[in-house]
């Protein structure tokens, strides 16, 4: 599971209102090459919840990869180094095993073989 996916997912148990961001508990993560596409990154940037992405990156131990505060969107055009880091954080860090934990209920959504299992139990629907 890439951090792009983490950024998009929330706990959708019935009645939960603060199901985002999910706390990332990674037991195993790897880095996977993805083709660099600047246009894609520029399109994705405004849709990203920055604090959630930074939190996820830091939970993997990559403390210096991204700045705490979202940079000005102009950095996407002018700062190639930033674009590369953003690319790495969003698309290349890949959680293989672990869990996504709902901040409100503590419900654990397991990640196994890189696939988050977001399906709800019968009594959560």
């Amino acid at each position: 599971m890439r951090l792009l996916t983490h950024n998009m997912l929330a706990c959708n148990i019935k009645g939960v209102t603060n199901g985002y961001p999910l706390r990332l508990e990674a037991e195993k993560w790897v880095e996977k090459e993805v083709d660099f596409n600047a246009d894609f990154l520029r399109g994705a940037f405004p849709k990203i919840e920055w604090p959630a992405l930074v939190g996820a990156v830091r939970s993997l131990g990559c403390h210096d990869l991204l700045p705490q505060d979202a940079p000005n969107p102009s950095a996407l055009d002018s700062d190639d180094d930033f674009l590369r880091r953003f690319h790495r954080a969003l698309l290349q860090l890949h959680v293989e095993e672990g869990a996504l934990v709902c901040p409100e209920t503590g419900r654990r959504f397991p990640i196994s073989k890189g696939i988050p299992n977001m399906l709800l139990h019968e009594d959560e629907v």
Binding site: M1, R2, M8, L9, C11, Y20, K47, M118, L119, D123
Partner: protein, 482 residues
Amino acid sequence: MWFLCVFFHRLLDYRRPEVESLAELFGAFEPMEDGSPVRPLSLEWNLPQNHHIDSPFHFVNLPSEDVARNIARRSMLVKGIYELWGEGITDDDLEKAIRGFSDERKLPYLKPESSFRITVDNFGKVTSFQEQNERIRGLSYIPFKGRVDLRNPDHKFWLMEIDDYGENNGLPPVVERRIFFGREVGAADRKLLPTYQLKSRKYIGPTAMDAEIAFLMANQGLARPGKLIYDPFVGTGSILVAAAHFGAMTMGADIDIRVVRDGRGPDCNVWSNFEQYGLPKPLSLMRSDNNLPPWRSGLKEVFDAIICDPPYGVRAGGRKSGGRKLLKGAVDPYTVPEEKRFNHIPSTAAYSLAECVNDLLELSARMLVMGGRLVFFFPVLREDVVTVAQFPEHPCFTLIASCEQILSLRYSRYLLTMVKTGHYTEEISELAGKKHLDFRENHLKWMEEGNLHSAVFSSSDAQNTKSSFDRDSKPKYRGKYV
């Protein structure tokens, strides 16, 4: 610029829409003043005199030869796009037309230092080698100065004709003979198909999408580098493989975790299908329920296209969360005991087509960018007289293509292509809900669980007495079956 566009004689309904989608992909349409390519766009088409719409020969107006070449090369169903030098009913007509065609356009392709080839092609009939040679010699009035090269010529010329050869050429009767001569501008690369055919793919399921159709779907979805394409019913990934081939980034979800996570082992799963063709793997695969998608609130307009084949219950039925199968020893109201929560496998409930389509439209309305495309299959019983009004609708979407593929006497599936032309808001969502209720009302009988399956598979005796379905009223030629 008008071109002769010759199609393969397959998937007849899909042919023009594919060209139109690719025309948009390769920039054939001027953007609107505000830069948005959102309005439904279409090309100008013509048919040769007396030709039926299912004829392989069409004329199409495209802005440039480059656009025409790009379209032809990327398409699945265009046999070739040609600069037409002449056409006619008889060889004399053709000669007159070619002689009349401007030298300015002809001479650059006839130069001594170039090489060329002429192919003789008869639609619906095999032409003997000898006859082909005679036909080519008959063109001696064209001043070819170049060298003949059959393997790898600079310029490819085609002499094509169609005539009434009796009943079996798969078309309504041809009224009169027609001959075309033109220079090939571009042709489809069907070599893709043997590479991607399902029988040599490692991991497939019972409803894996045929490679040709998957490529057509990817073309309808305008897949290209830098675009993000999502399939909410990803299964073994057969649709995303096609999208990834055209360079798009992909994401998929499925409710069946065995399919997306495990496959048939570490070397035979959804990921390995991408590896097999050297394609970039999906950015994300996850297990989730299309009925209750786990997207954070506020997330919208992230996908450029959503392409899928929803489970409509003919070959595989849909499932959603909210099953009510009680655990052993448990009593209602439903709870999962604490000690069983870890690795609990929730039971699922049946997911009717009506609900599934409604969820898909809602999800797409929210998650597609403006101008993004929703491409999906929709089943239709063939006893119904199909009109556009019977397809599902949503106020955010404009239907731009509906392409029928007949699967049996009883039912066919339509590939629907919709463009997001309206912004998604709460009010729109409410309005869509009402529209959906009307739609559901009208289609209740077969969109509920199991009904479509029984309508397609029930024994024919029962069917005949119940319906006024008349085999003879259907067109006899096989066009739409191929």
